[in-house]
Subunit: 412 residues, 2 copies
């Protein structure tokens, strides 16, 4: 059961002029499953991408990186079922064959195609099935295909993830629509995570590139489900330029500020949706780490808490076993941490409870208050390191029987 | 169910001249539980200790560190139930009061006592109950008290852990007996882990100190159950000097080599026993990482595999979902790793199967072979990084429903 996350309303997903999407069943790994999604971009669209830091990065990621540098991206193709990762040279050839086949059905060049795969690692991609499915995906292309597409990219997700925003820029209404998928292998530096966000705004390429990096850091790179960084993570930002707004070319402009806010808002929503639908998740945890010397040490502390199986199982049990949080802070890797200065709060639904200070349990703390907060579905852990002015916010979830069940059964 | 680990035979635990042990029920947290263990050392015993690197280190760890520097340790006192960690100044006072009380019942000085606590973090230690139990623990002191002691230090352990070794040094038979306890919060740099190893060998203090550090690195600091570093980890090496051997004072000597081998053998056994009895463990995994530029990067790769919830649940399911192992290697943090050079084997019971090479699945690999190995209770993952000559061996276990159950229910 995802934590406070509902499927999108098809009517609420706004078409983005310049983008058409088509989905089909290609039987890549299983029958009767929408597993192949094609996204066609009008000429002139600008595209930026960030990818997994995993050294075993998948073949499609390597092809994406190369094709992004040539510019002129006209299509994205996404298959589920097989990740085409850990597949060596044959995997690279399969990703390239995919691009060539997409180019063929759309009448474009192979290096104008970005391929994405998600699913089981170490198994060969059945390119023949994928290629055979492309004409049907092309025939399905439509401007209001976002609802189909958010279903087409799902793997172990239980809920499709998609949302739209609109913002006025230079007197023009700009639309943003995005989709994402999780739901395991979710960790710093992306996840088994695909995110696609398209807008009709007109944005200069350098601005788009810089914005994507900044936003990825604050959204998809600030979540964790299980601490595993996937081989296939990709987050793509597309700007078709058809809204008619004055080109956003200056990061100091008012237009940029408005656009940045909308992209960030939607990206955070899409990233949080992955955590809310994390494998087996029953709680959505916000980790707000303040008072660090720098952002990096705040993230270290947040991830130590967010990855700790002991903390995660305590959240699952709604048990205010707060010592496990202190222990995680203590081993986060800050060598000169003065634990006597740290304060820790648990919060939910307007209530915030000071649980630890002066190296131990806060005098004012009462177990009833901790228990009350821990029973909520959304909980914030706030930590003040009292060392500086930096902060970071991360999002995580709990660790349940179902996580084990899902991951012990995934391939069967 | 622990993995191939049986309770010790009381008769097989050899007394160590100069060491007496007594256990009692002090109702520290629960009634009818042996939760207080006293170890008395004869005058002249030398003691070395290594402790958790967690910045939230427990009050007793702080007192141990201080009292070890004064020398002349005559007693160790261990309570379960409450860890006396995250307890601030009152916790420190409680640990000191414990030492004073032990000193009183044994007629020694308070700074000759090393206190150890394990259990729930962030709750006050009920010193009055502990102190009230000390006379009974003292009255129970006996040379063959190891069997009782290995029961007395258990928390979520399902099997007590104790073993003995004997080795001839300088014509004298030297005895070593050790006990340990886990079983959650087990990770690099110690665990919720207590280990006590005593010998009657005569060993110079500097040699004892250096040996302990080296052995801890190769044993207790090479295991992981869940990646959580506890606040209370301690590993203590005691040498009473009563065996009559020539003092081991030279690390280049034959005597040292024999002694080191025996200490290492017993320490590795005690550390592995903690993993075999890891919370919910059904498989014992050896991670043998070779071909690294240095030992540190080999350990990074081993811990990435050993900590990955996805890898651990695949082991639980006996599913050769080997892509998860490759993914973990890929995100272990070696930036210039060339994945096309890496080879990975799965091994068990005399069989070793090459599963990955050239950046993908090995051509010779057959799923039947992988499945056969994964069904075994003891499995070795061997990784050749092909970058150098360094290696490291770590031990881990799988991740089961019972891990979640145990840790969601621990306090209830």
């Amino acid at each position: 059961m995802p934590v406070l996350l509902s499927p999108p309303d098809a009517a609420a997903l706004l078409p983005v002029p310049g983008v058409r999407l088509g989905v089909t069943e290609a039987a890549i790994r299983k029958l009767n499953r929408r597993d192949l999604t094609l996204i066609e971009l009008a000429p002139g669209a600008r595209v930026a991408g960030v990818f997994t830091q995993n050294r075993f990065c998948a073949a499609p990621v390597q092809v994406c990186r190369a094709n992004l540098t040539t510019g002129g991206v006209r299509a994205l193709v996404i298959n589920t079922g097989v990740a085409n990762a850990g597949t060596g040279e044959p995997g690279l050839a399969a990703a390239q064959a995919t691009c060539a086949a997409v180019a063929h059905v759309l009448g474009i060049e192979a290096n104008q195609v970005l391929p994405f795969s998600t699913g089981v690692i170490l198994e060969p991609l059945p390119v023949d099935k994928l290629v055979a499915g492309l004409p049907a995906a092309r025939d399905a292309l439509k401007a209001d295909g976002w609802f189909d597409a958010c279903h087409g990219i799902m793997t172990t997700d239980t809920v499709p993830k998609a949302a739209s925003r609109q913002v006025s820029i230079g007197g023009k209404t700009v639309t943003l629509t995005g989709i994402s998928k999780g739901a395991g292998m979710i960790k710093p530096n992306m996840a088994t995570m695909l995110g696609f966000l398209a807008t009709d705004a007109d944005v200069a390429q350098p601005v788009l590139d810089a914005l994507l990096k900044e936003v990825a850091d604050l959204s998809f790179n600030s979540i964790t489900v299980d601490g595993d960084t996937s081989t296939n993570d990709s987050f793509i930002l597309i700007a078709t330029g058809q809204a008619g707004n004055p080109t956003i070319a200056d990061t100091g402009s008012v237009d940029y500020a408005a656009f940045r806010a909308a992209v960030l808002d939607l990206s955070v929503w899409l990233a949080q949706a992955i955590v809310r639908d994390g494998e087996g998740a029953t709680k959505f945890i916000t980790l707000q780490i303040e008072g660090g010397k720098d952002r990096d040490e705040c993230r270290k502390v947040g991830y130590a808490i967010g990855h700790s199986p002991l903390v995660k199982t305590a959240f699952f049990a709604s048990d205010p076993n707060l010592g496990r949080i202190l222990a995680a802070i203590g081993y986060a890797g800050i060598d000169d941490l003065d634990v006597s200065q740290i304060r820790v709060w648990l919060g939910s639904a307007g209530e915030e409870v000071l649980v630890a200070e002066k190296g131990g349990r806060a005098e004012s703390y009462r177990e009833e208050a901790g228990s009350r907060v821990m029973k909520e579905a959304e909980i914030t852990v706030r930590v003040d390191l009292a060392r500086g002015a930096a902060m970071a916010t991360l999002w995580s979830c709990d660790f349940s029987y179902d996580y084990v069940k899902i991951n012990a059964d995934y391939r069967s």
